[in-house]
Structure formats: C-alpha cells, structure tokens
C-alpha cells in the first residue's frame, strides 16, 4: 500500500506537537479571517504570506500554518454568508441562497452547524480523492513537454475566463494584463531588461505578492469607503446552538453527491470552487424538483453548496500540485505561497519532495478535523467577531498589508505599486473585469513563456510543434471549447442572484 506508507510519512511530518499547535492557531485565525466581512480565503491568506515568510518558519511549518488558515477561511466564510447575507468570496454566494433565509427563520444555529458538517464532509472526501488521484496524475504529467505545458496554461486561462466572467473579452484582457506584467524585468535568456521603461525598481520584475495583496486586500478598502461600511450589521439573532442531527442525517446523500460533483469541478484547471458550489447546488435543486423548496431556506440548500465548495477546493489542489496550474483564486494564492517557500509544484514534487506533498495532505486532514471540533462549540465566539466594525477592521487590514509587503523587500516602491494595484483592482471589479486571471497571469506568465520558448527552440521555430502530440491537441481543443462554450451556455446556465431583503 503505497498511499498508506506515504500518508504515514505525511503524518510523521505534520503530527509533531509544534505543527499541531500551528494547525490549531491557523484554523482559529483562518475561521476569523473567513468570518470577517470583506476578508476571504484569498485576501486573508495573501496578507499573511509575507508575514509568515518574515517569521522564518521552515517550509513544512509554514505550509501547515497557511493551509490551516486557508481551510479555516473556507469554513469561516459561511458564517458571514449565513448571518449577514454577505459572501466572503465568490463560491460562498451559493450558500447565501438558502443559508440566509434559513437564518431569518430563526434557525441560524442549525444552518451554521449543518454547513460546518457539510464543509467537513466535502473537504474530507476531497482530500481522500486528492490522495488517490494526484500521484497517478503526477505520473501522467511526466509525459508533458513544453508544447503540452503551453497548451495547459492556455487551457487554465480560457476556462477560468469562461467560467468566472460574464464577458469573454474582459477575462482575456485580464489575463493579458497579468501576463504582460509578468514579462516585465530582466529576461531570463538574454540577461537584458525588458519592458521596464528604464525604471531600476522594475528590473526585478513585479512581485506577485504585491499584486495579490493590492488587488485583493487594498481594493477592498476602496469598496468600503464607497459604501461607508454599511450593510455589515448582523440582521439575525443567534440563539442556543444545538447539533441538528435530523437535518444532518436527512442531507447525507446530498453531501456525498455534492462532494463528488464539487471535486470533479475542482479538478478542471481554471474552473475552481465557484463552479463546484454552483454545480452542486444546481444538481441538488434539480434532483429535489419544485417541491424541494430550494431558495426558501431548506437544509439541503445549505449542505449542497458548502460540501461542493469545499470539495472543489480540495479538487483544485490536484492540478495545482501535479501540474502547477491552480484552479481558482484561492489556489492561486496557495501557489503563490508555495513559490514563496521555493517549492515548485509539478510532477517532480511528488518524487523529489514527498515529505512536502504528504505533509500538506496530512495537514489538510488534521486541519479539517480541528475545524469541525472547533466550529461547532465555538461558533458563538466567531459570530461575536463579526461585530468588529468596518472602520476598525479595514484600516487594520491595510496596515498589516503594508507591513507585510514592506517586510519583503523594504522598498517604498513595492508599497506604491501595491496602492496602485489596489486602485486598479477597484476599477477592474467595478467594470466587471475578473481579477483572478490577472493574478494567475502574473504567477504563471514566466512558466508559460518558458514553455513557449522551449517549444520554439526544440522545433527550430516551427509553430506546428505546438499541436504535435495528442495530449497537446486535446488541451487546445478543451481550451477553445472552454472559452467559447460559455458564450452559448450563458443563457441556459444563468447564475441565481443573491436574495435581497
């Protein structure tokens, strides 16, 4: 049993008292981050990466801490979805559809516990799926040459744009902004600066952390200035929290089905968690039919998107770890974390550094169990944290972001760029241009260009080399289909709008 011995290795790494302590801290911190309105898994993890880096933790400890924060934030996101009707990030939108009506019926505690259990089931099954699937995909990934990798990156951008945005041109533009920023700096092969405009500060290129923190965290401040922090008051009361055994038992098949659907959606490179929770909710809605009462606050409507969302988050780790292609905004941030720790995801990660991969998987399992144990009894404490007013929270987040980015390089230029990215993020989001492709472009631009260059060098400039293998052709077809198909499916697969009071 390869998997069991590998898992034993992983638990050996992740189960020391110190890492266990980090996992508990990370889960607690993550749940708070996820619960706070305006902070979600992506920006919460983003502002913590530079600080973790400066703390000087070793790779495994940092990884355990940050994955716990990541999973914790996924858990915590449902608290603000259910109680405030404010989704912390895009996948959580589906949870508001039934969670908020259920909370308004006076069953807020039930909804919170049920969604916590559903999150656990989804994340747990997805982690097991990850263990089974990732090593075999890693073996397939050895067949990938530069042409295949180029097509794969293209597929990620195409499907991400196709799914996440309402306008293909805008998502393509967003990807180009990111890729264009990635090309700035000293060229790897000639050693000469490219596209820097003569600015010495740009010779190093643009650090992806600066862009991530700017686009995700600083941009949020502008949204709060625009709205003057309104709409963050808890509208529903939370009474005594009990465990709703009947609801959990009733939704067991829903959770299992949604986990499977979410996991498969998560594996698709570029599709990610939003698609997972959407598909899971829609599947359950059509199975339940008209009488199911979806949208009015039924337990199944809470369990399905939460299980799907968390399963997709686990599924998204499969392409991220084996191919280095993240499937969503939050996995892109995790990829940024790995790259900061000098870990390069890809098929060789499984053979060269098994302790990192299996330590990560073991810490995911640990984080899951810690979160379930922490969330049910402590949900009231987390609800209290929601009361932190925006006028204290957002300035605080900004200052933490500044210190974090400043600690990376000690340069005012990075800070100014971060403010610039914040303003850009505000404009982009206002214009309905997705920001995740920008991040993905900055993260993957270098690799994508390297793949293209290697392909061109190998084939002596022959463009047809890019389509020379069955895998590459398959990826190209999938990329084009992923980009074009949503244009026609948009009318059929209309996203449900959030409930308004």
């Amino acid at each position: 049993m390869d998997i069991l011995s590998n898992l034993a290795l992983g638990f050996g790494v992740a189960l020391s008292p110190y890492t266990l302590f980090l996992a508990v801290c990370g889960c607690f911190l993550g749940t708070i981050i996820g619960a706070l309105p305006g902070l979600g898994p992506s920006n919460g993890v983003a502002i913590l990466i530079p600080i973790t880096f400066t703390l000087g933790l070793d790779a495994t400890s940092a990884l355990v801490l940050m994955t716990s924060v990541y999973y914790g934030a996924m858990y915590g996101g449902r608290i603000s979805s259910i109680l405030l009707n404010i989704p912390g990030d895009e996948p959580a939108l589906m949870t508001t559809l039934d969670g908020y009506p259920m909370a308004k019926q006076g069953r807020a505690g039930d909804a919170l516990v049920l969604s916590g259990v559903a999150s656990f089931v989804g994340a747990f099954l997805a982690t097991i799926g990850l263990m089974l699937l990732a090593p075999s995909l890693a073996r397939v990934a050895f067949l990938f040459g530069p042409a295949e990798y180029f097509a794969l990156y293209l597929l990620a951008f195409c499907t991400l744009g196709g799914m996440a945005s309402n306008n293909q041109a805008k998502s393509a533009l967003a990807a180009c902004i990111g890729l264009g920023i990635a090309t700035i700096g000293v060229d790897s092969s000639s050693g000469l600066p490219r596209l820097t405009g003569g600015n010495l500060h740009l010779y190093d290129g643009v650090d992806f952390l600066v862009a991530i923190v700017g686009l995700f965290a600083i941009a949020e401040v502008f949204f709060f200035i625009e709205s003057h922090g309104k709409g963050s008051a808890v509208g529903v009361k939370l009474d005594k929290v009990r465990i709703p055994w009947a609801d959990i038992w009733e939704t067991k098949w829903t959770m299992l089905r949604s986990s499977a659907v979410g996991f498969i959606a998560g594996i698709l490179p570029g599709a990610g968690a939003s698609l997972g929770s959407f598909m899971a909710y829609m599947t359950e809605k059509s199975i339940a039919g008209e009488k199911g009462g979806f949208g009015t606050g039924v337990p199944k409507g809470v369990a399905a998107p939460e299980a799907g969302n968390n399963a997709a988050a686990g599924g998204a780790l499969v392409p991220m770890l084996t191919l280095g292609v993240p499937g969503s905004g939050t996995t892109a941030v995790l990829l940024a974390l790995l790259m900061t720790l000098n870990i390069t995801p890809g098929p060789t990660l499984f053979t060269d550094r098994p302790e990192v991969v299996w330590g990560l998987i073991a810490s995911l399992l640990i984080a899951n169990i810690v979160l379930l144990l922490m969330n049910v009894p402590m949900v009231k404490i987390f609800v209290k944290i929601l009361m932190v007013p925006a006028w204290i929270l957002l300035p605080g987040v900004t200052m933490v972001s500044f210190v974090g980015i400043y600690s990376l390089s000690g340069s005012y230029f990075d800070l100014l760029m971060m403010v610039g990215f914040g303003a850009l993020g505000y404009i982009l989001r206002k214009l309905d241009i997705p920001t995740v492709p920008v991040i993905l472009g900055i993260l993957l631009g270098g690799n994508m260009e390297d793949a293209l260059r290697r392909a061109m060098t190998l084939s002596d400039g022959d463009v047809t080399y890019l389509f020379s293998s069955p895998i590459a052709i398959g990826l190209w077809v999938a990329a084009i289909a992923g980009f074009v198909a949503p244009m026609f499916l948009r009318n059929i697969l209309k996203k449900p709008q959030a409930v308004t009071d």
Partner: protein, 162 residues
C-alpha cells in the same frame, strides 16, 4: 456603456504602446533575435483585440459612486502613498496613527472614534509585530532629519524625486 468604451480605449493604447515596446526589446546572441519578443507580442495582440471588443461591444454601465466618494477614494490613495514613503524614515507608529485614522474616518465619518481607531491600531499592531511576531526591525520607531524626510516626500512629486 461609456465606461467600458473609455477603459477599452485606454487598454488599447496601452496594448499598442506595449507592442511597440516589445519590438524594441534588446536581444543578444544567447537569447536569439526573436524569442524574447515573441511572447510579449502575442500578449499585446490578444490584449489589443480584447480592447477592441470592449470598445465596440460594451456592457451596461456599472453604478459608479457619487462625486463625494470619488474624492474620499482619491484622498485615500494619496494618504496611502504618503504612508508608503514615510514608513521608512518615520517608522511605524506615527504614520500609522494618521493613515489608519484617516482611513477609518473615510469609512465611517465620525472624528473621535476614527482618532481612537488610529491610535489603537497603531499601538496594538506595533505591540503585535514587535513582541509577538518579532518584526521589531520593520516597525522600529525613527526620528528622521529634515533632509531625509524631504527625500522621502519628493519621491511622490513627478520629475523632482528619483
């Protein structure tokens, strides 16, 4: 409608400028003549096409905030930029009191709580960073000379700074 067209036009001009810059990329014997330019030129071309789509097929207008909010956001950008350059010469505490206080005031315009938020956040985060996280060298308190202060501020003034 109009915002999409304007933004599309801006990105179109940027894309063309980027393409022009891409043709000027320096190359040498190791990189070959064409490879450093290929990828930027592809990106520039796709960006230009996407921008054209935005100009000719714009989406409905988003709800932009009122003029007052624009001014607040402009002030926020300026405050954050000044904070960015003063963090080094002045250290963490003093600039943070002002920056956090002003941001807080802009989110919820009440002077006294905003002031308290600024002071509280500054001291609280200082203690957190220095004693809990051991980042004392980053949040240290400094007293600058006027010349250093001017050096920092002048960064933000076009054509004066460096």
């Amino acid at each position: 409608m109009a915002s999409d067209r304007i933004f599309g036009l801006v990105t179109l001009i940027t894309a063309v400028a980027y393409l022009a810059a891409a043709t000027q990329i320096q190359t040498n014997f190791f990189s070959g003549e064409f490879l450093p330019k290929l990828f930027p030129m592809l990106i520039g071309a796709v960006a230009a096409i996407s921008s054209l789509f935005m100009v000719f097929k714009p989406d409905p207008e988003p709800d932009w905030p009122a003029a007052g909010s624009w001014i607040s956001m402009g002030v926020a950008v300026i405050v954050l930029s000044i904070y960015a350059v003063l963090l080094k010469p002045l250290g963490f505490i003093l600039p943070t009191i002002f920056a956090a206080g002003i941001l807080s005031y802009q989110i919820s315009p009440r002077a006294k709580p905003a002031m308290l938020a600024g002071i509280g956040l500054s001291l609280g985060l200082f203690v957190l960073f220095k004693f809990a996280l051991g980042l004392g060298n980053i949040v240290a308190y400094r007293i600058p000379t006027p010349a250093k202060l001017w050096d920092a501020i002048s960064i933000l003034i076009p054509f004066v700074g460096h």
